[in-house]
């Protein structure tokens, strides 16, 4: 009986240790995604390359509705963003009839951002958030971060860090359901 209790206790503590070691201590739950809250609205100046097609300001509340939105925070100074961008662009080209991809250029310089867009040939529109005010509104703490917003304008999910193609597929399925 005592042996049983001992073994159980050690297994419990071992399990707790294992769980603690495996979890990312820096990961934060998204307040928005947890309660599926309405995505905070923003009106940001559209980056130059997209102004002809999208106008001078990108306003979320004007874009919500017809299609669900994939909102990606990126910056030219963020290495994982460089790895993620080609995959995002490919997904945008495949899904553009059903999903709107929006970029938010977070705390970046205009020149650097445009060089980044040229380098990866990004065709989904991005707005500039040089001070990061919109980032604070979304609780951003590490780039890249991607928010999945449904047609009602609610945040269904948030992904921190680089997205893989299969992860993005999973989120898009959730969004298009």
């Amino acid at each position: 009986m005592r042996l049983m209790v001992g073994v159980l206790l050690i297994a419990l503590l071992g399990g707790l240790f294992w769980w603690g070691m495996r979890r990312d201590a820096s990961a934060l739950p998204s307040q928005l995604a947890q309660a599926q809250e309405p995505a905070p609205d923003f009106a940001l100046p559209t980056l130059k390359p997209y102004q002809a097609e999208w106008g001078e300001t990108l306003t979320l509340s004007e874009l919500v509705g017809p299609k669900p939105i994939v909102l990606n925070f990126w910056a030219s100074w963020c290495p994982p963003c460089r790895r993620e961008s080609p995959m995002l662009e490919a997904a945008w080209r495949r899904y553009r009839n059903r999903v709107l991809f929006l970029g938010i250029n977070f705390q970046d310089g205009d020149e650097a951002a445009r060089a980044f867009i040229r380098e990866f040939g990004l065709t989904f529109p991005s707005g500039a958030d040089p001070r990061g005010r919109v980032g604070v509104d979304y609780g951003v703490y590490g780039l890249p971060e991607t928010f999945f917003i449904n047609s009602e304008g609610r945040v269904l999910a948030r992904h921190v860090g680089e997205l893989s193609a299969s992860q993005l597929e999973g989120y898009l399925r959730q969004l298009l359901r």
Binding site: L28, Q107, V136, G139, V140
Partner: protein, 161 residues
């Protein structure tokens, strides 16, 4: 050469001044922020740093957080309202002094619980020891005690030798 030296010195001075100016602009807080802004920022985490408050950090996001605090103070918002603004976006995690309710209550209570558990285990161990000692002395037969006492008095002188 001697003619050039003042020019070189002048250049060095100018560059030094520029570099100094650049550093001063990067590291010193914007002059228009009041100490109240820093008092509030000190109780909020910098979201992108490890173990730094929004007051100490010079990360762009902390600079923006201080700007938001200053703006909200100017709008007449209270400290609690400003903190609530950040909690709404980042959760209780953003506070250096998390509230004592819900899941965080366990963190506050766990040292007390641990101390209580330790006391209980020690008390049980003690009482078991005492019980065993009493039982042991009750179980020893009378003649055994007599023999032991005799042995303690020392060996009897051997008359055979």
């Amino acid at each position: 050469m001697s003619l050039r030296r003042p020019a070189l010195l002048g250049w060095m001075l100018a560059i030094g001044l520029l570099v100094g100016l650049a550093f001063a602009q990067n590291s010193s807080p914007p002059p228009d922020l009041s100490s109240r802004v820093y008092d509030i920022a000190r109780e909020l985490r910098c979201p992108v740093c490890q173990g730094e408050s929004a007051a100490e950090s010079n990360a762009d996001i902390s600079v923006e957080m201080r700007r938001i605090i200053a703006e909200q103070l100017a709008q007449g918002k209270s400290e609690a309202q400003i903190k609530a603004y950040f909690v709404q976006r980042y959760g209780d995690w953003i506070l250096y002094d998390p509230p004592r309710h819900g899941a965080t209550l366990w963190i506050w209570l766990s040292p007390l619980l641990g101390l209580g558990l330790l006391g209980w285990v020690l008390w049980r161990y003690q009482s078991r020891l005492r019980q065993r000692a009493q039982m042991a002395s009750a179980e020893v037969p009378e003649e055994e005690i007599q023999r032991l006492e005799a042995e303690l008095e020392g060996p009897k002188p051997n008359t055979d030798r």
